[in-house]
């Protein structure tokens, strides 16, 4: 029961934190929430920067070609609050990332979460909103 409560709490924290993840520009103008992504590949570069951290992943496409995807995360202040550090993603890491693809269908996306090779999941969040409900 305790574990269940802890899991629920973690999920709630992640969901609540998601609201501020993409709080700099319009999500809809750049990404399409209906174009879901789930990519597995190798991290080739990490840019731990404001206003958005980016990481790049080599992913083998259905065409057999390797494509280098640019994935957007929140800013370092947000990621730090969610348990990330600048070393969370390193070049060479094997990861699976879930998120939404860019509207222009380029090899770019907004990451919701990243699962590391050891199964650890780090949340970024999507562009959902805080409606002043609190």
């Amino acid at each position: 029961m305790k574990i269940w409560k802890r899991t629920l709490l973690a999920a709630l924290v992640a969901a609540t934190a998601a609201g501020a993840a993409l709080a700099h520009h319009s999500f809809a103008s750049e990404f399409d929430a209906s174009k879901k992504l789930k990519l597995t590949g190798t991290v080739t570069k990490v840019q731990w920067r404001n206003p958005h951290t980016y990481f790049f992943v080599d992913v083998k496409g259905q065409d057999g070609e390797i494509h280098n995807w640019a994935m957007e995360l929140g800013s370092p202040n947000v990621l730090m609050r969610r348990g990330w550090t600048r070393d969370s993603l390193k070049i060479g890491d094997q990861i699976t990332v879930e998120g939404s693809r860019a509207r222009d269908n380029s090899y770019k996306g907004n990451a919701n979460s990243v699962v590391m090779a050891d199964g650890k999941r780090l949340f970024n969040g999507s562009a959902d909103e805080n409606e002043g409900k609190y």
Binding site: A23, S26, S29, P51, N77, E129, E131, Y134
Partner: protein, 290 residues
């Protein structure tokens, strides 16, 4: 509509002209403020929280001089409000109840059509007064005898100064149009009342494109009904953009122990590099640096 920099300047200039014209044609009025000490009304159309009953909060803290303490060991977790039309007070939620003038409604429609792509915050510009309280990330109030400083981690990592020493607003050319305007405040019981004029026209009142002119006058009423809640309400009075004053309001959550961090939006704004105009061309021309 191509939103080049020239076009943006045109929009701003047009807005300024409309503001002057409207100021001549419209007699401004002010919304009646709630009675001093009155409990903050709930947000219009606010959905009830389903599930577990609300966690009891500690009572409102006060400073030794009796005024409300807006601080503590933590900070206020500002949300990213993207549905300002649902935060209306006095009327049911919905954009139809915002008293737009034709030009401000046209710009609202344009913002919807362009999916907020030209939001000033996307350019890392400051959010302005009211929207600063609907823009992440956390904020802190520093209360001094003669002024209150609000530090915003987000927006453009900015702060805002509220003069509490009884001074008046500057007038004429001494009033410099700025992102946050000139703010004077006073306490009405446990309510901090902030009167602000002198806004520039480079901010939106909300993510969804509530534009305004430099005629904008806001009256913000801030309360802390309990330890964990900040209630924010604002009266928007801008005869250059709206036919009558109107109000918005929302609640902000306290996060115990949460400290401010650095957030420099301007560092590497990839969004601008990729931003296209309405014809699909780069919004900014690429420049080469050594």
């Amino acid at each position: 509509m191509r939103m080049s920099r020239d076009a943006k300047s045109f929009v701003r200039s047009s807005g300024a002209c409309l503001a002057i014209l409207s100021a001549l044609l419209v007699i401004p009025g002010y919304a009646a403020a709630p009675a001093p000490g009155a409990a903050p009304p709930p947000r219009a159309g606010a959905p009830a929280r389903a599930g577990a009953p609300a966690k009891p909060s500690k009572p409102t803290p006060h400073l030794p001089d009796g005024t409300v303490d807006l601080g503590g060991n933590g900070s206020w977790s500002l949300g990213w409000i993207t549905n300002y039309e649902r935060q209306l007070l006095d009327t049911p939620p919905g954009v139809d109840n915002v008293p737009f003038l034709p030009w401000s409604k046209a710009m609202y429609d344009y913002v919807q059509k362009t999916q907020n792509a030209y939001d000033p915050e996307g350019f890392c510009l400051p959010p302005g007064g009211p929207r600063a309280f609907g823009t992440p990330y956390p904020a802190e109030f520093l209360q001094q005898k003669d002024r209150i400083i609000v530090i915003f981690e987000g927006g453009a990592h900015v702060w805002r100064e509220i003069h509490m020493d009884g001074r008046k607003h500057p007038t004429g050319s001494k009033l410099n149009p700025t992102y946050f305007g000139h703010s004077v405040g006073h306490w009405e019981g446990d309510t901090l009342v902030i009167d602000t004029v002198g806004y520039n026209e480079r901010t939106w009142l909300g993510f969804n494109g509530f534009l305004h002119t430099d005629d904008l006058h806001t009256v913000e009423r801030i309360t802390r009904p309990n330890y964990d809640t900040l209630r924010y309400e604002v009266t928007i009075d801008d005869p250059g953009a709206y036919s009558k004053p109107w109000r918005m309001g929302w609640n902000i959550r306290w996060s115990e122990g949460q400290e401010l961090q650095e957030y420099i939006c301007q560092e590497e704004n990839q969004f601008l590099i990729d931003l296209k105009d309405d014809f699909g061309k780069p919004f900014f021309q690429a420049t080469e640096t050594e």
